[in-house]
């Protein structure tokens, strides 16, 4: 019950890559330096194929096992992008780029998968093909969707796909996973309420969009409180309200609201989208205004296939012995879900210890987790494609 010894030896090297990525964060699809470094390292390791430019700036790396008697192909995925956050960790290798920071540990994910790549290219102790997926733009750009749209799954014949995310609050070296919905679907909406602007001293000559907006916000609360089965999960949050006037004595002509919807079930997602539109339109109609809803489905729900969850947990147990196999799902979203829509697989959490939460300016990936994460990635390949 321990990480592979090789990764303990490699830890300084892998942590070195990680801290270099940390110092040079890049946003969304602009991960040019990171992707180039990933490709360069994988070529140094002697990987069989390194293909850049998949999903714009993603990198796909192929490592063949000693044998390939059964035509098995397993995909492993890491994300590479950082966040628009001003770093406050105070570490020596803190971001050199003002306003950008690896505050979600993707520097760690990329480095752990690079560590697995180096090990697998050295040992090749498996029967089949490992496909390593380094994706851009997890933090809102849909890099996973873009890579799938480029035909990645078919082009490399990927049969199963596995991903990992570090998780503050879980001890380093521990894993957590669950079958079924693991992370939520994240949709966004914008509601534009148009009334009749005018002087705030003469509301009777106007149709007050601020009042209409307030009624819509209140009525939207009924989706979670009255509409959705209490045994199913849902969040509807209105997050910004902006009038088109900033004056204190003007009734604005237009109010825009933005918000997010989180669900764990495709049927609930359809229902909520319908209700958001009906409520906004109906309440506005009642008050003489017009509301237009732009509802955009973002990342779908991340659903772990039951059987593959078992495989992922089994490898995690071999690495650490501390595996929560029924962790609570999170209302956050993850674009690895696009890959799980195309292929069976699973997504696992790796403990990052008692650190600040991801997306916090003081968050930092814990390098002590690297041997566990790299061992899990490599272990998935060796376990799902055992040497002939």
């Amino acid at each position: 019950m321990a990480p592979k010894n090789r990764f303990a030896e490699m830890l300084p090297e892998i942590a070195g890559w990680r801290q270099d990525f940390h110092e040079n964060p890049e946003l969304l699809f602009e991960v040019h330096r990171t992707a180039a470094r990933v490709a360069e390292l994988c070529r140094e390791f002697g990987c069989d194929e390194v293909t850049e430019g998949i999903g714009r700036t993603g990198v796909v790396v192929v490592i063949k096992g000693k044998t390939d008697t059964a035509g098995r192909v397993i995909g492993l995925r890491a994300d590479m992008d950082a966040l628009p956050i001003i770093e406050q960790t105070g570490v020596a290798y803190a971001s050199k780029v003002p306003g950008k920071m690896h505050a979600c540990g993707h520097d760690g994910h990329t480095s752990m998968l690079l560590g697995a790549a180096k090990y697998l290219a050295e040992t090749r102790n498996f029967d089949g093909t490992a496909v390593l997926i380094f994706q851009p733009a997890e933090e809102g750009g849909g890099g996973g969707r873009e890579m799938c749209a480029d035909g990645m799954m078919d082009r490399w014949g990927i049969q199963e796909v596995y991903g990992m995310h570090n998780m503050p609050g879980i001890p380093v070296g521990h894993f957590a996973i669950r079958p079924g919905a693991m992370m939520a679907a994240a949709d966004q909406f914008e509601i534009v309420v148009t009334g009749k602007g005018g002087h705030a001293a003469k509301p009777h000559d106007c149709i007050d969009t601020t009042v209409v907006a307030a009624h819509i916000i209140v009525a939207l609360q009924t989706i979670a409180s009255r509409g959705v089965d209490p045994l199913k999960q849902v969040v509807v949050s209105v997050c910004t309200v902006a009038t088109d006037s900033t004056a204190h004595n003007v009734i604005p002509q237009v109010v825009k609201m933005k918000g997010t919807v989180r669900t764990m079930d495709f049927g609930v997602q359809d229902y909520v989208e319908g209700r958001v539109k009906e409520i906004a339109a109906g309440v506005a109609l009642a008050l003489g205004a017009v509301a237009v809803v732009d509802y955009a489905r973002g990342y779908p729900v991340t659903v772990n296939a039951v059987e593959n969850t078992g495989f992922a947990a089994e490898v995690a147990r071999a690495v650490s012995g501390q595996v929560d196999e029924d962790t609570a799902p999170l209302m956050g979203a993850e674009d690895f879900s696009f890959m799980l829509l195309e292929r069976p697989g699973a997504y696992i959490f790796l403990g990052n210890g008692d650190t600040a939460m991801v997306h916090h300016p003081a968050y930092n990936f814990d390098d002590n987790a690297i041997p566990f994460g790299s061992s899990w990635y490599a272990g998935m390949v060796e376990a799902r494609m055992p040497a002939a």
Partner: protein, 381 residues
């Protein structure tokens, strides 16, 4: 055992239909209780004690050797509903109906008693609980308050409920919470009455009630963890006003709160009180809240749920071991708070839901309920 119970089915069906034709409301189950006691004496139960909490009946059947004391519970009361089932043995009491199948539960437990007294092929002791007042609530609590569990300290306790939508012969249960805690609230909002044409001279409690009702939606929508089930429903709104032109002085809202966990229940009660008080204050009114924790959550002991499912699997291939919990409530929870045990759903087939005027207990499910109750004693006594 199933075959032996099935052989007595015509008799059990006759008892069930007799109860159905003579429904009695909570704590008024006089005829039912008397009939139950008479039948139990006829079977040769070792102890038959009527009069628990008024109309409840407790019976004891000793097995053939030392063992555990296993409680089996059935409920006997009907509902204030006008029957529309169309069956020939329909209620003879206007406005009262066995619309929840307690007639069936009582008959199932009687059939189990008949089998257990004849065979005695078990160790330990079976304690049969025919409780009053499940629908109005408090029947189980009343029996416990009268010292039932002191007189008969149970090792384990089991009960069942028929379930429309679940096929006849099918069973369903789960470890952990299976039915919700039911809290009841009454909110009285006081304003100042007046003429509806001069609202500025009054303080309108109808308007405040509207704001309270809307603001209460935020408790589930914004306060409760979306992973935790919760329901807060305002069910009645009644003003003391007497006309369309009168601003009333007072509005009363009543409703119910459902949850599965103590921490969620606490949060719901706290937020309900804070929302009501705050919104009323914002409009210059005064609100008082009466909040009553009625039935606790029905939580199956994990080990006993395993036993319960095992017995069901011995009787049927259609056993759901992880059925979704329900937001409705059940006062068997009072026993489960104090004694490890489990609650089982038994299929009633397709048909109208419980508490519907056209609901009909399915007699074909009777042997499955009776056999499961019997099986719990055989397996666990």
């Amino acid at each position: 055992m199933f075959a032996a119970i099935e052989a007595t089915l015509p008799e059990a069906v006759a008892w069930r239909r007799d109860f159905h034709a003579h429904p009695e409301l909570s704590f008024a189950e006089h005829r039912t209780g008397a009939k139950v006691a008479e039948l139990l004496r006829g079977f040769g139960c070792d102890v038959v004690e009527p009069g628990w909490s008024g109309t409840g009946v407790v019976a004891v059947i000793n097995g053939c050797g030392p063992g555990r004391r296993i409680g089996l519970r059935a409920d006997m009361d009907a509902l204030p509903i006008s029957e529309a089932s169309g069956v020939e043995f329909a209620s003879t009491v206007p406005g009262v109906m066995h619309a929840c199948g307690h007639d069936g539960h009582t008959a199932m437990l009687l059939a189990a008693a008949q089998y257990l007294t004849e065979s005695r092929a078990f160790s330990g002791q079976a304690v049969l609980i025919f409780q009053p007042g499940e629908e109005a609530g408090g029947g189980a609590r009343a029996m416990i308050a009268e010292g039932f569990l002191d007189r008969y300290p149970l090792d384990e306790v089991y009960a069942l409920h028929n379930m429309p939508g679940l096929a006849v012969g099918a069973y369903a249960s789960r470890p952990g919470p299976i039915m919700a805690a039911a809290d009841m609230f009454s909110i009285e909002i006081s304003g100042r009455g007046g003429h509806a044409a001069q609202p500025h001279l009054a303080l309108d409690p109808v308007m405040i009630a509207g704001h309270v009702l809307v603001a209460l939606q935020t408790v589930v929508a914004r306060n409760v963890d979306p992973l935790k089930p919760a329901v807060l429903s305002v069910s009645t709104v009644v003003s003391d006003g007497s006309g369309a032109c009168v601003v009333p002085g007072r509005v009363v809202l009543t409703g119910t709160v459902r949850s599965f966990e103590g921490a969620v229940q606490d949060l719901l009660e706290d937020r309900l009180r804070a929302v009501v008080t705050g919104v009323a204050a914002a409009h210059g009114g005064v609100a008082t809240v009466e909040y009553l924790r009625d039935a606790p959550a029905t939580v199956n002991d994990a080990v006993c749920a395993g036993y319960a499912l095992e017995v069901a699997r011995g009787l049927s291939a259609a056993v759901e071991g992880d059925v979704a919990p329900m937001m409705v409530s059940e006062d068997f929870s009072e026993f489960l708070l104090r004694v490890p045990g489990a609650f089982m759903f038994v299929g009633n087939g397709d048909g109208p839901l419980l508490h519907h005027p056209a609901y009909a207990f399915n007699d074909a499910g009777l042997p499955f309920g009776a056999a499961w109750l019997t099986g719990m004693v055989l397996a666990r006594g």
